[in-house]
Symmetry: C2
Subunit: 361 residues, 2 copies
């Protein structure tokens, strides 16, 4: 049994309390300053309004003002803020961390830092107080895990990843249940690249639905799954290029963290909804107006990643034409470019010969 | 311009006449003995009843009795029969083949032959008359291509594959249009393994929908996409294992032929419908009764592939526990086994450490 403190009471952090508590751990859920309503509901009725279900009865909820108390004596700190919240989280948890604690991040992805791609566990490390940052250990979770399904105790399969192989068996033992299946891996680069890219690429897959609607009904009812599937495949192929470039493993790409998580992310959610609006022909500026106040992780990710990717291209570390889908997404969300994929630009770094139009280039 | 004869007037063969004819080729569509009604409709009204749309006006339809005439002078023979029809096709086209003709197969996959997996282009080769079988060339098509969408001229991206790199530019030139994007590859093993396995694995992904229905509504409306995504990822990982074992390339797995085609196949169709029925708890024998007269390619494929896979395991060529999903599917469709995946048995040949329950094995 371990003491597990989850910081961030959004859906994903809170969902993680289910396997943690079912497993007999002492589980504490701490809201951020944005989670006050959630925490009040958890305290007064043990009901999580965003997950729309009761919490496990053993989970104790804490307000952000009580974070010191909530982190006291914890073995494992689960970080459940969204990717925008990492810098805040470093400030919030930094003063209360104790040597030997393990931080496991639900928050995942990458940021551009000085022209390089940095994975969020490393961003967190660099923003923690120097006195403690090397006294704690870091891990992250990858793989297809829709929060509401985990909270419903539906079968969920994930990968726990850390550079410190030593801590992984303990983390797995703390969270494994008969519905939460955990593999462990030390390929933190592979996992973080996959999870950072799944949102933009799922958004791109979602465009197909909008393009179909804009085109209007076909006489035989033909859909646009071929379009979506080509984009899905190109997204995974671009993921493989970046994973390999940054030193991750291909096995991470064609299993749970890559293919599995991209698949689940295409099955609905905000990225898909944004994709549909763009596919309908709406400019990004107009589409954003249709989704007021919502964080579109796919947009955040592409904006956060692209400066470093462009710098890598400038430095000659990756060929300029190797990530056409990611670059086109960037144009769409930053310059209101219309959705007009050049399919022939895809797959040009695989051992395939590209379509005719590219033969001479 | 080329003369292109498509043998088999089902949806996929017939869909291929659209890019072929749009590209200015002379296109002939020959039905099998099962396609008489289709051919009559094509002849009398230039309307394809199963694609539910008019054929390109330049396409000429031929009855199976006219196959000699239809194949006369053809540069390219497109083989559009289903995987059960390859032996029939060898007999039907064999007598009329002329040296130098190129056969491009829409029909794809593998069969067990003497305890080994043989790809269908090689099965076709071995069943053609010895006098001609080495005088013609073989190619195949992989990648996500729902027939009705190609016929609607919706964006479709595929890979043309052949051991003879020389014929690929000519094939691509014959079929490329602004909606049919063609990459070429010599990884025929990789492509055939991917296309053979996508149907069983898409069926397995489809189980999640049935399992969810059987379980009944969740209080917060949680779906079972995490379940489906884990199965999707395991299907792709098992595909990678077999592709590597048989000498194909991993790039084929994480791009159009593998990930792209598996994705598109999970988006509906007969494999998914069969998956749902099995997920609901129906035995395979009962589920088949619900879909009378329909060919479920995923079931055919697993039955056709499994004897060779078991022989490979017996010979020690692949570990017994490396394809748990494929083997479980085989048990389901041949022994009416109930659907009860052991998720912890998945991903055990990746560089991940498996879940707790497998630690000792």
């Amino acid at each position: 049994m371990a003491v597990i403190t989850i910081v961030g009471a959004g859906v994903m952090g809170s969902a993680l309390t289910f396997p943690a508590a079912d497993n007999g751990n002492e589980v504490r859920l701490v809201g951020t300053h944005l989670d006050e309503e959630i925490i009040q509901s958890c305290r007064s009725q043990q009901f999580h309004p965003r997950l729309r279900r009761p919490l496990h009865p053993a989970v104790k909820a804490f307000s952000h003002t009580e974070i010191a108390q909530a982190m006291q004596g914890a073995d494992i700190i689960g970080l459940g803020v969204n990717s925008r919240g990492v810098h805040w989280a470093a400030q919030a948890i930094g003063p209360h961390l104790q040597p030997g604690q393990i931080i496991i991040m639900v928050t995942k992805g990458m940021e551009s830092v000085d022209g390089k791609l940095q994975i969020l566990p490393d961003v967190l490390h660099d923003h923690l107080p120097p006195s403690i940052r090397d006294q704690v250990k870091y891990a992250a979770i990858g793989g297809p895990s829709i929060a509401g399904e985990l909270a419903a105790r539906h079968q969920t399969s994930v990968v726990f990843v850390s550079r410190d192989a030593d801590i992984l068996p303990r983390l797995r033992a703390a969270f494994s249940t008969n519905y939460y299946h955990i593999w462990t891996s030390t390929d933190i680069i592979g996992v973080e690249v996959c999870v950072a890219l799944k949102n933009p690429y799922a958004l791109a897959v979602g465009l197909a639905a909008g393009v179909l609607e804009r085109k209007g009904a076909d006489i035989a009812g033909a859909k646009m799954h071929n379009y979506a599937a080509a984009v899905f495949a190109q997204g995974l192929a671009e993921t493989a290029i970046l994973v390999q470039k940054l030193g991750g493993g291909l096995e991470t790409v064609f299993s749970l963290p890559g293919a599995g998580d991209l698949y689940v992310t295409t099955q609905g959610g905000r990225n898909s909804r944004m994709g549909r609006l763009l596919g309908l022909g709406m400019s990004y500026s107009d589409a954003v107006e249709e989704m007021p106040g919502e964080t579109i992780e796919g947009v955040d990710a592409v904006i956060s990643i692209m400066p470093a990717v462009e710098a890598m291209i400038t430095r000659g570390e990756i060929p300029a034409d190797s990530l056409p889908l990611l670059r086109e997404l960037y144009r769409i969300v930053t310059r209101n470019a219309p959705v007009e994929f050049d399919f022939n630009s895809f797959f040009n770094k695989l051992p395939f010969n590209p379509p005719e139009s590219l033969q001479s280039s």
